[in-house]
Structure formats: C-alpha cells, structure tokens
C-alpha cells in the first residue's frame, strides 16, 4: 500500500487553465506539505497543514490554493496556470511533533504548462 499517494503523476496543460493535484496519506500523520521542485531540482516548501489547519504559507502566488478536507488529504489547486508553474510538485506528511519526525514523500506530480 502506498503511504503517500499523489494523482496525477503527470499533467500537461495549456497556459491559463485551472488544475488540481490530489494527495492522500494513509499513515495517520497529522501534518501534510506541498513542495515544489523546479527545473534545477531545487526543492522548496509551499504549504504545510497541521490537522487541516494552515501553518506554513511561503511566498507563493495566490493562484495556488491548498485545500485540506481532512487530515489525510491535502489537495493543491492552481488557477490561471503560467509557464513558470512547470515543475514537479511533491506532497509529504509527518507525524505529530516537529523536529525528529521524518517526512514521507509521495512520488511527485510533474506539471508541464504549454
């Protein structure tokens, strides 16, 4: 059973479209994250939710909106897609408490905007 699953794994779309990436974890973790990996492989945090509550919201355009219907799901919705949004988006989760707890990552969703 996949611990952190993301769908879709690949997404190709046109500029200006709206798209969503879904993430689900079956680990019972309280905290979920979205990371963006750019073309140079640099990974940076976008959002973090703890038990459905937003706790990290880095400098991300407001076209990006995370939604957490419950603590096992954290979806990422992107409006008015731009070329620069092309990247791999990783969902991750971690158990309660900071520091020692390890993030478990999903396999990533590669978004290509044409």
């Amino acid at each position: 059973d996949t611990a952190v699953s993301q769908t879709p794994k690949y997404l190709v779309t046109q500029m200006g479209n709206d798209k969503s990436i879904k993430c689900e974890q079956n680990l019972g973790h309280d905290t979920m994250y979205w990371y963006k990996q750019d073309s140079k492989k640099f990974l940076k945090i976008m959002f973090s939710y703890n038990n459905k509550e937003l706790i990290i919201n880095e400098t991300v355009p407001n076209r990006f909106s995370p939604k957490s219907p419950d603590k096992a799901h954290l979806n990422l919705h992107i409006n008015s897609l731009e070329l620069g949004d092309s990247a791999v988006y990783f969902c991750a989760s971690s158990p309660r408490g900071a520091g020692a707890n390890v993030l478990t990552f999903g396999a990533g969703s590669r978004l290509t905007v044409l």
């Binding site: 140079k40 492989k41 703890n50 706790i55 900071a98 520091g99 020692a100 990552f105």
Partner: protein, 117 residues
C-alpha cells in the same frame, strides 16, 4: 533564516569504492535535525539517514554514514562500497526542532552522484 549548502553539484565514484558528499548549513539554533534524502531517476524522495544535533555520535545506516561536525556546521555523507543503485541526486536537509513555520525541511541544491561500473 537557516540555509543549507551543497558545494558539489556532481560527483562520480567507481563501483565498490567510497565517496563523501559535502553539506554545510547555517543556523542560530542549538537543537535541530539533519537529513540526507536520495532521489533516484524514479523521482521518489527516499530518506537515507538522519542525525539529531544533540547526539554527538554519528548516525550510520548500513553502507551510509555521516560525519557530523556541529561546531563547523558540517554534515557530510559517506557511502561505502558504492553500488550502481546508489546513483541518484542526494539532498541534504535541515529541520528545526520547533514546530510551526520553522518545522519544515530546508533543502540544499543537491549533488548528483554517478556510479561507474
């Protein structure tokens, strides 16, 4: 703000040999956690090893070990008896002990490791 630096964009090692990947970080905190993640071509992020800053003993996981120098803020990864399957991007990461906005992983830019048969 904390930063993580990996000064080697690419490294190469002969199969069965040993290689060391470098990582330095900057923080004003005294207690924190350090990690090495591996990203093979499959794209999956895989935890290789982790170190808790308050522990002086270097962490080891089979063929993987770290050299943690807290005063120098250095956290290098040593891979012994390199195997073809070790070829991947390796990311060093820092995580504050505290929660909230400090609780996320801060990554270095990665080192691409090639293993020659």
């Amino acid at each position: 703000a904390q930063t993580v630096t990996q000064s080697q964009p690419e490294m190469s090692v002969q199969e069965a040999e040993t290689v060391t990947l470098s990582c330095t970080y900057d923080t004003s905190e005294s207690d924190y956690y350090l990690f090495w993640y591996k990203q093979p071509p499959s794209r999956q992020m895989i935890l290789v090893i982790r170190q808790e800053a308050y522990k002086q003993q270097n962490a080891t996981e089979n063929r993987f070990s770290v050299n943690f120098q807290k005063a120098a803020k250095s956290f290098s990864l040593k891979i012994s008896d390199s195997q073809l399957g070790d070829a991947a991007m390796y990311f060093c990461a820092y995580r504050s002990k505290y929660g909230g906005s400090q609780g996320n992983l801060i990554f270095g830019k990665g080192t691409k490791l090639s293993v020659k048969p």
